[in-house]
């Protein structure tokens, strides 16, 4: 019955385009193999997004399902909109960082970062033409 109600609700649902959250990531290599301390900055409509619950997961796009990280909960940082999490990855390379947000906003953001001994930077990809 619950499923039927859910399907009917899905059929009648009109798109509600709410402005989504945005995220930036800054990670520091801890010195232990593949472990990074990351600072996540969340904004919404240009303003810091505080009070959110953030769960961080990671997948390696080049090896789907083979290399991933069990999700960890981020803790609030020093300033509003900042969250901290320790990522224990399996190797260096490009990772898709998945941020699942709940609280004031329910959303999921996926960021692609290149991790190495220097830390992390946004992954760059070649366009195919």
């Amino acid at each position: 019955m619950r499923v039927v109600v859910l399907v009917l609700a899905l059929l009648s649902a009109a798109p509600v385009l709410a402005q989504g959250a945005r995220a930036e990531l800054a990670c520091r290599f801890t010195g232990t193999d593949f472990v990074y301390d990351c600072l996540i900055r969340l904004t919404r409509a240009g303003q810091p997004l505080g009070g959110a619950q953030v769960v961080v997961g990671a997948d390696m796009p080049s090896m789907p399902m083979a290399h991933n990280m069990a999700p960890v909960k981020a803790t609030p940082g020093r300033q509003s909109g900042e969250y901290e999490a320790r990522l224990d990855l399996e190797m260096t390379g490009e990772w898709a960082i998945k941020l699942r947000l709940s609280g004031p906003v329910r959303d999921q953001l996926v960021l692609h970062y290149e991790f190495d001994e220097q830390g992390a930077r946004p992954a760059k990809r070649k366009a195919r033409r």
């Binding site: 619950r2 509600v16 399902m65 999700p71 898709a96 959303d107 996926v110 070649k126």
Partner: protein, 298 residues
């Protein structure tokens, strides 16, 4: 239920559609390494419809299934003329062509001041329909398993019907089936199109669960896993592939304690399993044994 378990169970459900898609073709005697292409077609089509055009997810899923079936039919037209390994290689090539086409796909529109839609190798971000509709992760899980139960019930009914018998006979001895009046090529095309629709349904749900898709999601690794699901779980019943997905993902997650060597451990376990049970855990002999015992008890 914690986020990890929820994510894991949802992934098991989502990849079960792909596993059942590969299983259908295996029953028809064909080993496809290309079902991930139709999973991708479903993911992109569903994502475009809900994100760029505001189409409700159920309608988008139906449209994506139609497109997945059409794509599988078109791929099947030339490839199903081939046999065995040649068919497997042709489906792999078709899937790689599809992945390269996803890399060339740029179809973005401005939604709420932001560009949304497929952007080639950069992927397709912001497939946020379920978040915008306030659908909770548990509800999405419930929806996924409800759809899976429907598909499974349909497959189990088909397996008990005349259609199911024809399907197995075409898979086991196509010449004999043809001699009995079955149009084998047309039948296999129908199976391929149904399998494409099933994979596409899984793809739509996958895209909306992940909110981001990219061509690399639909590469050969996924095709190999989809076949492995069906082969590990067994070809005796439609429940086999589901068992295969649960085992595959379960063992992958359970072998985390082996750290970087876990893929070696995982591969070894799969190899041992296939040596001991070449037609999977729930193979035809075991299913026959279980059903005949159940009938005797009645």
């Amino acid at each position: 239920m914690d986020d990890f378990t929820l994510g894991l169970l949802t992934n098991v459900g989502l990849f079960s559609f792909l596993a059942l898609s590969a299983y259908l073709l295996l029953l028809a005697g064909e080993m496809s390494f290309g079902q991930q292409a139709f999973f991708g077609v479903g993911a992109y089509a569903g994502g475009i419809l809900t994100t760029l055009y505001g189409v409700p997810l159920p309608l988008a899923a139906l449209a994506a299934m139609g497109l997945g079936a059409l794509a599988a039919f078109l791929v099947g037209l030339p490839t199903l003329r081939l046999k065995g390994l040649y068919f497997a290689m042709a489906t792999l090539a078709a899937a790689e062509i599809a992945r390269l086409l996803f890399e060339l796909l740029h179809f973005q529109r401005e939604i709420e001041g932001e560009l949304a839609g497929p952007d080639g190798t950069q992927g397709f971000r912001g497939i946020r329909w379920i978040f915008e509709q306030g659908i909770e992760a548990q509800e999405f899980l419930l929806l996924t398993y409800a759809l899976l139960a429907l598909v499974l019930a349909a497959l189990l009914l088909v397996e008990r019907s005349r259609l199911g018998v024809t399907l197995r006979s075409v898979g086991e001895d196509p010449e004999l089936a043809a001699a009995l009046g079955v149009n084998v090529n047309r039948f296999k095309l129908g199976v391929a199109a149904s399998a494409g629709a099933l994979a596409a349904l899984g793809g739509v749900l996958f895209a909306h669960h992940n909110t981001f898709i990219e061509p690399r999601n639909f590469d050969i690794m996924l095709g190999v896993h989809s076949l492995a699901y069906a082969l590990i779980g067994g070809l005796g019943t439609a429940l086999g592939p589901l068992l295969g997905v649960a085992l595959d993902i379960g063992v992958l997650e359970g072998s985390r304690i082996f750290g970087g060597a876990r893929m070696i451990v995982f591969g070894g376990l799969v190899a041992v399993l296939l040596v001991l049970r070449p037609r999977g855990l729930l193979d035809e002999a075991l299913v026959h044994c279980i059903t005949s015992r159940a009938l005797q008890r009645r």
